[in-house]
């Protein structure tokens, strides 16, 4: 029986003028259901590409990506849309909230297209935004915006929550809050969370740490006892 998420020999190449860049070079790893996995790597290590491929935003050139027994690499365009729609929650580095919608409405935006969504207000309170529901993104702080983004991703009730440097644009405290929110969500709901970061100091919070370098998986380590975020210092 294979893992919940299974990356096998995945390659992704970009044509840059005359040269071909191997963004992902025969990468392979697996993540079990309910795990909080962190993909760690420097800029250009190919971690974002891995996340994009996993999230159905980008496609791989080689290899297979199995998510919950579904081969994502073989999905066509509209199947990929459905995959994104029903199976994936995405949290962006820059939150990517719709400026013209209030916090709640931004969550609702995702919910609109997802039949098996969670209750919006519940999710909002879950991320601690009860008070700021009707505020526009511009009226919210970065952390709050990221929480809206997380709420938006969670409200869809996805199989997989993908976070692209969720703390990248945040200060230390806020970043910590966001990370602990993600950790809690993983623990409480048993949702599989994949988080990419270049900050290796947050690795202890993960169940599984996948280190990447130059498009290759350098190592995969398991933390038997992940550390709560509050205990991590960086």
């Amino acid at each position: 029986m294979s893992a919940y998420i299974e990356f096998t020999d995945v390659c992704k190449r970009y044509q840059m003028g005359d040269t071909v860049i191997n963004a992902v070079d025969h990468a392979g790893f697996s993540i079990e259901k309910g795990e909080l996995a962190i993909i760690l790597g420097a800029s250009g290590a190919g971690k974002t590409t891995i996340l994009n491929i996993l999230g159905g935003i980008d496609t791989s050139d080689e290899g297979s990506i199995i998510v919950d027994e579904k081969d994502v690499s073989r999905l066509n365009d509209s199947q990929l849309i459905d995959y994104r729609r029903f199976d994936i929650g995405f949290v962006f580095q820059f939150y990517n909230l719709i400026q013209n919608l209030t916090a709640k409405e931004n969550v609702e935006l995702a919910v609109q297209i997802c039949p098996e969504h969670l209750d919006v207000d519940e999710v909002m309170s879950q991320v601690g935004l009860d008070e700021r529901k009707d505020n526009f993104p511009s009226q919210l702080s970065g952390g709050e915006q990221q929480r809206v983004a997380i709420a938006r991703a969670l409200a869809k009730n996805p199989k997989l929550l993908l976070c692209d440097e969720p703390t990248g644009a945040l200060d230390y405290v806020t970043g910590k809050m966001i990370l602990s929110l993600l950790q809690d969500t993983c623990k409480k709901t048993g949702m599989t969370v994949v988080l990419i970061t270049h900050n290796s100091s947050i690795a202890p919070m993960a169940d599984r740490v996948i280190r990447m370098r130059s498009g290759k998986v350098e190592s995969v380590t398991m933390n038997e006892n992940p550390m709560p975020v509050s205990e991590i210092e960086w």
């Binding site: 980008d58 729609r85 029903f86 962006f92 719709i98 013209n100 935006l109 297209i113 511009s138 869809k156």
Partner: protein
């Protein structure tokens, strides 16, 4: 060198965003091009006209005078400062026949000095006249007469009341060339006071042909053209109005000179007149007396002549009677001669007859005698022959006797043989009897033998007989036969006997046979006996005959002798008769000779009588002839005298009339001159401008102005929309590149250098557009528009004059919209600190929109509807720009359709619903209704004519009672009665479409007239026609689209003008199957000489349709341009919308929105903006259409001001169609947006 990288960046930017660059360029091109193109139309029209007019030295002013002009007048005018050149010339309106139709031609003198003269014609074909009898005609048009080179034009004797021969020295001219005249820029040649009222051709003939003493026209050109003042400028109008005043003043002065001169002449003339009158009166009275004497003499002569004739008649009668008597006598004599002649002829005939008869009788007697003699001779020779025969017969007789003896002997012999044969027979019979009981015995044999013996004996006997007979005779032959038979029977008997003797028994049959044979032999013998007996008898007869013959002979002899005696007696008698006859004949001949002589005598005397009569007759005739001749002579003399008298009388009357005429004309002239002098106004000069005399010159100017006015609305709007879009695009572009600008700035580039990238980008797009657009459209649009107007105006060529000022203005506007906007936006951005620039611009904050304050509405919105609403209102400027851009296009399209709407139905409504007339007959003069009754009756009989009505129309100027507003192209229309007008014109209310009645209390005016003059029902209107102004009351307003009419009833006409109107036209409604127009008009023109021309409404409706079609082309061009603009606008704005929101789109894509949802996320806004744009545009379009329609409307045509709902519908469809089309284009782009974009940092 240092900016190389910057330029590279700029060009890469262009390459990268080629779509945007091109869209800016195109929008500038269309905007500027359309503006310049439309704006170039009017200057091109003016310029072309100006160029053409100055090349042909078109007159600026035409001066007319009631008294004509002299050279001195021209010299006086030439002395004025403004005047460049003066030409004096002649012209006349004359009538000529063309295909049975009488048409009016304007005949103009060709000036002697062509080079310096005014209104030079352009020679199109052929050559200018060299001979006096040659002419050139204007190029034919639709309305004109198509003359060709070589045609002969002959003018009619009368042109209205003018006698052609008083005007021209000849009436026929040969066409040698085809010209165009700058005086005629439209296809119509204007109106004339004669004939059909419209001029159909313009003919130029050598000036020498004109017989006028004074020039009829003076043409003047102005110096101001050399100073660059266009005839279409207002300055020109100013100069013209001042000059007009001067000329009018000069006219009065010149006229006074003329009047003084004339006054002197009048005084002389009056004196001359009085003298002449006196002298003439005296001469006339003398002539009168002479004539009276002559009259008396003639009367006497006539009386004498009458008596003479009477005498002559009597003499002539008498002579005739005498001659008749003489002739009767002569006729009697002649008759008796004739009868004598006849008698004589009868006598001669009788004599001849008798002579012939006598001769015949003698001849008969002679013949009888001769035949008697011949008979006698014949009888004698016969007798002699008989005598000879008799002697032969005597010899024969001797022989016969001998024969008889012999025959007697034979007979006896035969008797014996018979008896012997009987005996044999008996014997045989007995034998047979015997045989019957016994067999044949020897006796039988013996019998047979005996029979044989007997036969043999008989044979012998026969042979003996034969030997006695003369061989060859029948008896001899018979006998020989008998002998042969007998020998045969003997042979048989012998055979029988032999048979018997052989011993065989002879049968009874044999016996019987033998018996029969014997019997036969007996019979033969018997017959022979008979024959012999016959022979004997014959001989006896012969002997008797001989004896008779002998007796005959003897009687013949005696007869002969008696005949001879008789003959000799006849001969004697004949001789005696002959002598007697001859004597008688001689006597008769003598008698005839006497008669003849007598007749000759009578004849001679008749002839002499005849001669005498003839002579006498001739004498009498001569006498009579003499008398007659004398009478005729005297009659002739009298006639001559009479003629002479008549002549004298005529001469007298003529000279009297002439004298009177001369005197009266002299008198009149004097009076005229006097009155002219006394009435200074009569001596006015009329100063007419180009607009006054040239057909459609004013219209041409107005049309050009109209197009210019359209150019003020349409393209300005166009340019505005273009500017708007450029502005949005440039702003957006610079916003997008904010961080880059920060980077440049951070790198140390100056503000200007940083901005220059965008300025160059904008400038290139703008300049490109400004080159492409005006170059293309300024060449195309004026041609298209003027091409459309070429239905109305004819200029020989078309020069495009691009208004540089307008071009510069539009280029400046374009530069402002692009480069200046770029500069401003850049400057605004660059003003902030570099660091701030480096940071991404904070996205515009979302906020609650006003709609949310209406929860009852807001809560009904779906999530996406809310989102759309917020998005729309988030960027209010963009919303405003987009809506305005789309609205602008919509407005342009609506205006285009509205214009089309306004013009296209005119012809259909006017000629389909309002006007029912089919044909208008123009009459040669205005006449009373009663005089046209016969024509009406004839028309009623034509099956093609459904109804007809007599009308009269007056070309008038209408104005409001204060005279503030004037309307041209107006007609006063008077039908024969107020009710029958409904047969030809549907007078109806323009709004309610209910019928409007024509009454005797006032006028019905057409809607435009009412609107323009501000005159409603119950108000008054002034109409000026026939040089008088009348005020009429308005009782109704009727719908009408072409021309303006004031309809009044004949009674009202009389009430207003104080006189009764006549009728000059007959308007007909025809059946649908009336057939050929030409045939119809030809037939009627030939049938009634009063009909001068027939005008078919079809022609008008087609002409209107053509005009409208030409405007439709203009409209179509506008719609097309507006459509193109709409597309570019929507494309650009959508493009901006998308590029502004790439990140958002990528995010929703990542969220799992499918394509449709993503598209709708953006397009929902587009569609709503388009709908808003359409709504706003409909309103704007309505306003624009109204403005344009009012500007374009000409005075003769009324446009429909309603824009049909479908026009809005079409426009909306076009605009929305473009939106949808652009959205379809954009879906591709949306699809291409990579989701990876969402991960990028905000730049």
């Amino acid at each position: 060198m240092k900016k190389k990288a910057l330029f590279k960046d700029t060009f890469r930017e262009i390459k990268k965003s080629l779509g945007r660059f091109l869209s800016i360029m195109l929008i500038i091109a269309v905007g500027v091009g359309f503006f310049v193109g439309v704006k170039a139309t009017a200057p091109s029209m003016y310029g072309t006209a100006e160029d053409y007019f100055s090349a042909q030295n078109l007159m600026d002013v035409e001066i007319l005078s009631t008294v004509g002009f002299s050279r001195e007048d021209a010299d006086a005018v030439a002395e004025l400062d403004e005047i460049k050149h003066v030409t004096l010339t002649y012209s006349a309106d004359l009538i000529t026949e063309n295909n049975g139709e009488y048409v009016v031609a304007k005949v103009m003198a060709i000036p002697a000095d062509m080079e310096n003269s005014i209104n030079l014609p352009v020679l199109r074909e052929g050559r200018m006249p060299t001979g006096e009898d040659e002419c050139v005609v204007i190029k034919s048009t639709l309305l004109g007469v198509p003359y060709a080179i070589g045609d002969e034009i002959t003018f009619e004797e009368y042109a209205g009341e003018t006698v052609t021969d008083d005007v021209l020295s000849r009436r026929s001219f040969k066409v040698v060339g085809i010209i165009e005249s700058p005086l005629y820029i439209s296809y119509s040649f204007g109106t004339s006071s004669i004939g059909s009222g419209s001029i159909s051709s313009y003919i130029m003939i050598p000036a020498e042909n004109f017989l006028y003493e004074r020039y009829t026209e003076m043409y003047v050109t102005l110096k101001c053209h050399d100073e660059g003042i266009s005839a279409f400028d207002e300055e020109y109008d100013e100069i013209l109005s001042q000059l007009t005043k001067k000329l009018e003043k000069l006219g009065i002065r010149q006229y006074n000179l003329f009047a003084d001169e004339t006054n002197a002449q009048i005084a002389d003339a009056e004196e001359e007149y009085n003298e002449g009158k006196e002298k003439a009166d005296k001469e006339l009275s003398e002539a009168r007396t002479q004539l009276e004497d002559a009259r008396k003499q003639i009367d006497d002569g006539l009386l004498a002549l009458e008596q003479g004739w009477k005498d002559y008649e009597a003499g002539s009668e008498e002579a005739d009677k005498q001659i008749a008597d003489a002739e009767r006598q002569l006729r009697h004599a002649e008759a008796s001669i004739q009868s004598g002649k006849k008698e004589l002829a009868a006598g001669i005939a009788e004599y001849e007859q008798k002579k012939k008869e006598t001769e015949a009788k003698l001849k008969d007697a002679r013949a009888q005698l001769d035949s008697g003699w011949a008979e006698y001779n014949a009888g004698k020779s016969e007798y002699e022959k008989a005598e000879r025969e008799f002697s032969a017969a005597t010899a024969e007789y001797q022989d016969a006797i001998e024969e008889y003896e012999q025959a007697k002997e034979e007979y006896e012999q035969a008797q014996r043989a018979v008896s012997m044969a009987q005996a044999t027979l008996d014997q045989i019979k007995a034998q047979i009897d015997q045989e019957e009981s016994h067999t044949i015995s020897a006796t039988d044999l013996a019998i047979l033998q005996a029979a044989l013996e007997a036969s043999k004996a008989q044979l012998q006997n026969y042979q003996e007989q034969l030997s006695t007979m003369e061989p060859g005779t029948p008896e001899y032959i018979e006998m020989e036969q008998k002998i042969a038979d007998l020998e045969e029977s003997i042979a048989r008997q012998e055979e029988e006997l032999a048979n018997l003797s052989v011993g065989s028994e002879v049968s009874k049959e044999e016996m019987l046979e033998a018996y029969d044979e014997a019997q036969a032999a007996l019979d033969d013998a018997q017959r022979e006996l008979d024959e012999a007996k016959a022979q004997m008898d014959e001989a006896d007869a012969q002997m008797a005959e001989y004896n008779e013959y002998k007796a005959q002979l003897e009687s013949a002899e005696s007869e002969l002798n008696s005949a001879r005696i008789e003959l000799e007696a006849g001969e004697r008698e004949y001789e005696a008769g002959k002598v007697e006859a001859e004597r008688q004949l001689a006597a008769a001949a003598q008698e005839i000779e006497d008669g003849k002589r007598e007749l000759e005598n009578a004849k001679a005397s008749l002839k002499s009588g005849q001669r005498t009569l003839k002579k006498k007759k001739a004498e009498a005739q001569k006498e009579l002839d003499d008398a007659h001749r004398q009478l005729v002579d005297s009659e002739e003399q009298l006639d001559d005298a009479q003629d002479e008298y008549e002549e004298g009388m005529a001469e007298y009357t003529d000279s009297m009339a002439e004298v009177e005429k001369e005197l009266s004309s002299g008198f009149n002239r004097i009076q005229n001159a006097k009155s002219m002098i006394s009435d200074v106004v009569a001596g006015k000069w009329y100063v007419l401008s180009r607009e006054d005399i040239m057909v459609n010159y004013a219209n041409f100017r107005q049309d050009a102005m109209r197009i210019d006015a359209i150019g003020d609305v349409f393209p300005v709007f166009f340019l505005m929309v273009a500017a708007l879009v450029c502005l949005t695009t440039m702003t957006r572009m610079i916003d997008e590149q904010r961080t880059q600008m920060g980077t440049y700035k951070a790198l140390g580039y100056t503000q200007f250098e940083t901005a220059s990238k965008y300025l160059v980008y904008a400038a290139l797009a703008c300049v490109g557009g400004c080159i492409v657009g005006p170059v293309a459209l300024s060449q195309i649009l004026p041609r298209v528009i003027f091409g459309a107007y070429s239905i109305l105006y004819s200029l020989p060529y078309f020069i495009i004059k691009v208004p540089i000022g307008m071009l510069l203005v539009s280029v400046v506007v374009a530069l402002i919209c692009t480069v200046a906007v770029a500069a401003v936006v850049c400057w605004k951005e660059l003003r902030t600190t570099t660091a701030a620039l480096m940071r991404p611009k904070a996205p515009k904050a979302g906020k609650k929109i006003f709609l949310e304050k209406l929860p009852w509405l807001w809560k009904h919105f779906s999530f996406f509807q809310k989102l759309t609403a917020r998005n729309l209102l988030r960027y209010k400027l963009r919303l405003f720009m987009t809506v305005l851009g789309i609205a602008g296009c919509m407005a342009l399209v609506v205006a285009g359709f509205g214009l089309n709407n306004a013009i296209s139905p005119i012809s259909d409504i006017q000629y389909g619903e309002l006007s029912r007339e089919d044909v208008t007959f123009y009459l040669n003069q205005t006449s009373e209704k009663e005089k046209l009754d016969d024509l009406i009756t004839q028309l009623e009989e034509d099956p093609r004519v459904e109804s007809q009505i007599c009308v009269v129309t007056y070309d008038c100027k209408a104005s409001d009672p204060e005279g503030k507003v004037q309307m041209e192209d107006t007609f006063v229309f008077v039908p024969e009665n107020k009710d029958s007008i409904a047969e030809i014109i549907n007078l109806r209310d323009p709004d309610t479409k209910t019928p409007v009645a024509l009454t005797d209390d006032g006028a019905v005016i057409t809607n435009k007239l009412s609107k323009k003059l501000g005159v409603g029902i119950g108000d008054e209107i002034c109409t000026t026609f026939n040089d008088k102004t009348y005020t009429m009351k308005v009782t109704g307003i009727a719908e009408c689209y072409i021309y303006n009419y004031v309809y009044i009833s004949p009674d009202y006409y009389e009430k207003v003008t104080g006189e009764k109107n006549g009728y000059s036209q007959v308007i007909l409604c025809c059946t649908d199957d009336m057939g050929s127009h030409d045939a119809f008009s030809e037939e009627w023109l030939a049938k009634d000489s009063r009909i001068v021309s027939a005008y078919f409404t079809d022609m008008a409706s087609n002409a209107v349709k053509d005009t409208m079609a030409s405007l439709s082309i203009v409209v179509f061009v506008m719609i097309l341009c507006a459509g193109v603009l709409a597309f570019i606008v929507v494309y650009n704005l959508t493009n901006i919308n998308i590029s502004e929101r790439v990140r958002e789109i990528a995010t929703v894509k990542v969220l799992g929105f499918n394509h449709k949802e993503v598209n709708m996320y953006i397009f929902r806004e587009n569609i709503i903006m388009s709908v808003l744009g359409v709504l706003v545009g409909s309103f704007l379009g309505y306003l624009m259409a109204q403005f344009i329609i009012q500007t374009v409307e000409v005075s003769m045509v009324t446009f429909s001001h309603d824009i049909k709902f479908v026009s809005y519908l079409y426009s909306a469809c076009i605009t929305m169609g473009f939106t949808v089309l652009v959205n379809l284009f954009m879906t591709k782009r949306m699809k291409a947006i990579s989701m990876v974009e969402s991960l990028k940092a905000i730049e």
